[in-house]
């Protein structure tokens, strides 16, 4: 029997990681992630998990330690946020380009400056081209479930890529709610132990890893990495279905859709704003607005075909981002979606940005976005970016 308990998002991540039986955990504390690893350290001290907990002096070391662990054939876990992610960037990039699978929880936080410790997805989106898979989740249950699914996707022999489970700092990391914690035996049945085949540190069979590589060979590595990313799109759907069959929770795969069947207009959401978006859609529908919602779950790989399919027949759409793309006057989901749909000028579309640095994305914000979209739906073309600005007190 699974256990039902009220958990913060961070503790949900800890339980998810513990159920995947990692061999090595190394992390350095940073707000808002710190309690993920505090809880895992407690599990370890209480003898509830057998992972080696490695104390490190920085995030750079944390990622380096888990890198060695995965290279030696183990399963590893870590977690970080914002400046911590920035400090681990060098081994972070190398983790994916060495094709070492693991799951890292990312309690997303705004990047400084100005100085902030609060929510925002700028940390995650700024590394979206560092070769990792990235899934953004809506609630605490999805954090736990995606850590379990994450290892299964990452460790698939045709993929072998690390994966970030990204969840909004504070709005999920510190939010308490009901979470169903599956039985260990159920997780064991779903997720077999990791068997490394491609790079093992073994003194008896020494192997050179990562020698200085000329461009004509390096390009083949990149090509293969990109191919694996594309293969992951199918694997994400497959693992989602398998998980739904076993655990009864279906997240829709690389994207989830809500009320899209007859939708004239659509909003695209990412992360914890999605639940609020679902409420806003319900309210707008009561007023006769035919609006639907597309929840972008995976930003990497980007589900181009599924987004295109979901937006077919839609007159107008807007993305809502909790981060920005410097240089494009838009958010990243907007930019990616525009690229995915090709000639987007046959529809009305715009980028909405809010929730930076801990600001709320309220029901009124999303309702306002839907109403703007409904008003503009008969005027095709890209419209001005909508900022969810709040009065300064």
């Amino acid at each position: 029997m699974s256990k039902i308990q009220a958990l913060t998002g961070n503790y949900s991540a800890s339980y998810g990681a513990a159920l995947c039986k990692p061999d090595v955990i190394a992390a350095y504390p940073i707000t808002p992630q710190s309690s993920v690893v505090e809880k895992l350290a407690q599990f370890s001290a209480d003898g509830e998990i057998s992972a080696s907990m490695v104390e490190v002096e920085s995030e750079h070391s944390a990622m380096s330690v888990v890198q060695g662990a995965v290279m030696a054939g183990g399963r590893a876990f870590t977690a970080t946020s914002a400046q911590g992610l920035a400090l681990m960037y060098e081994p972070y990039f190398r983790m994916s380009t060495l094709r070492l699978p693991m799951v890292m929880a990312l309690a997303t936080r705004e990047m400084t400056s100005p100085e902030t410790v609060w929510s925002g997805q700028q940390d995650a989106v700024s590394v979206r081209d560092a070769g990792w898979m990235q899934v953004f989740v809506e609630n605490n249950q999805e954090i736990l479930d995606m850590i379990i699914q994450g290892y299964k996707i990452a460790e698939d022999p045709n993929i072998l890529l690390p994966l970030n489970v990204c969840y909004d700092g504070f709005y999920l990391s510190h939010l308490s709610e009901r979470v169903e914690i599956p039985e260990q035996a159920e997780v064991d049945a779903f997720l077999p132990p990791y068997k490394s085949r491609h790079a093992i540190l073994d003194p008896k069979e020494p192997m050179a890893v990562d020698p200085l590589t000329p461009g004509n060979i390096l390009i083949e590595y990149r090509k293969s990495h990109l191919e694996a990313m594309q293969e992951a799109l199918a694997k994400i759907e497959e693992v989602n279905k398998e998980f739904a069959d076993q655990f009864g929770r279906n997240y829709g795969g690389a994207i989830d859709t809500y009320c899209m069947d007859d939708a004239e207009i659509a909003i695209l959401t990412i992360g914890s704003m999605t639940g609020t978006g679902r409420e806003a859609v319900d309210e707008a529908r009561k007023k006769g607005i035919k609006v639907g919602l597309i929840k972008v779950r995976f930003l990497r790989p980007f589900p181009v075909e599924r987004i295109r399919e979901a937006l077919k027949g839609v007159k107008a759409w807007a993305s809502i981002d909790r981060s920005v793309v410097f240089g494009w006057n838009s958010g990243p989901v907007f930019m990616e979606t525009r690229a995915a749909v090709g000639n987007a000028d046959s529809t009305c579309n715009f980028s909405a940005i809010g929730g930076l640095g801990g600001a709320d994305i309220s029901l009124d914000d999303i309702t306002g976005c839907i109403e703007t979209l409904d008003k503009l739906k008969t005027e095709p073309g890209k419209k001005d970016t909508l900022w969810f600005s709040k009065p300064v007190e």
Partner: protein, 183 residues
């Protein structure tokens, strides 16, 4: 769905108290959600948080703008404009204070006022002026939103037996006054 906002100061146990309510309702087969909102993390600075209780899944993950209930752990926060912002007409205020109702200068929208002087109760049971568990007793009595026996068990499990006694005494001592509220 019930929307509740909590106000207190760092060190008074606002977050732990709200988490205890959520644990209790989840344990009771229902749904609860709490989002703490920290300013600077230090003892004494204002802390607030947003609590929702519902009989089905709570999808919305935002701050609470129009609370039906306020749980205020420190009466030095009453002058802050944020404290009563958006309180629904006829709403409930559960307040830790040693002052009388005349001294409080509350907005006219308050419908039900629950007053408890938590300090002597906390000092007698837990020997420290941490008002959160006593205020949980006051909250339970004033709102009737939480299974009281289960809440007491959760208080004992989380904070220890003396805190259960503090909550119990508060439950008996809280004064609930019907002010009607400005309709």
């Amino acid at each position: 769905m019930k929307e509740i906002r909590l106000h207190g100061r760092g060190g008074q146990g606002v977050v732990k108290a709200a988490q205890t309510i959520v644990s209790t309702v989840v344990d009771d087969g229902s749904y609860g959600q709490f989002i703490p909102f920290f300013g600077v993390e230090r003892k004494g600075s204002p802390v607030y948080g947003f609590l929702r209780l519902n009989d089905e899944d709570i999808r919305i993950k935002t701050q609470v703008y129009y609370p039906e209930i306020l749980l205020i752990l420190d009466d030095t926060l009453l002058d802050m404009p944020q404290t009563f912002a958006g309180l629904q007409e006829g709403g409930t205020v559960v307040l830790n204070t040693s002052k009388s109702i005349e001294e409080l200068n509350l907005p006219k929208t308050v419908g039900t006022l629950a007053l408890l002087d938590a300090e002597p109760i906390a000092l007698s049971h837990i020997k420290r002026n941490i008002p959160n568990t006593a205020m949980l007793g006051a909250f339970a009595k004033a709102t009737g939103l939480v299974n009281w026996d289960k809440l007491k068990d959760h208080i004992a499990a989380t904070f220890g037996e003396p805190n259960r006694l503090a909550a119990d005494e508060a439950y008996e001592k809280v004064r609930i006054i019907n002010l009607g509220g400005a309709a």
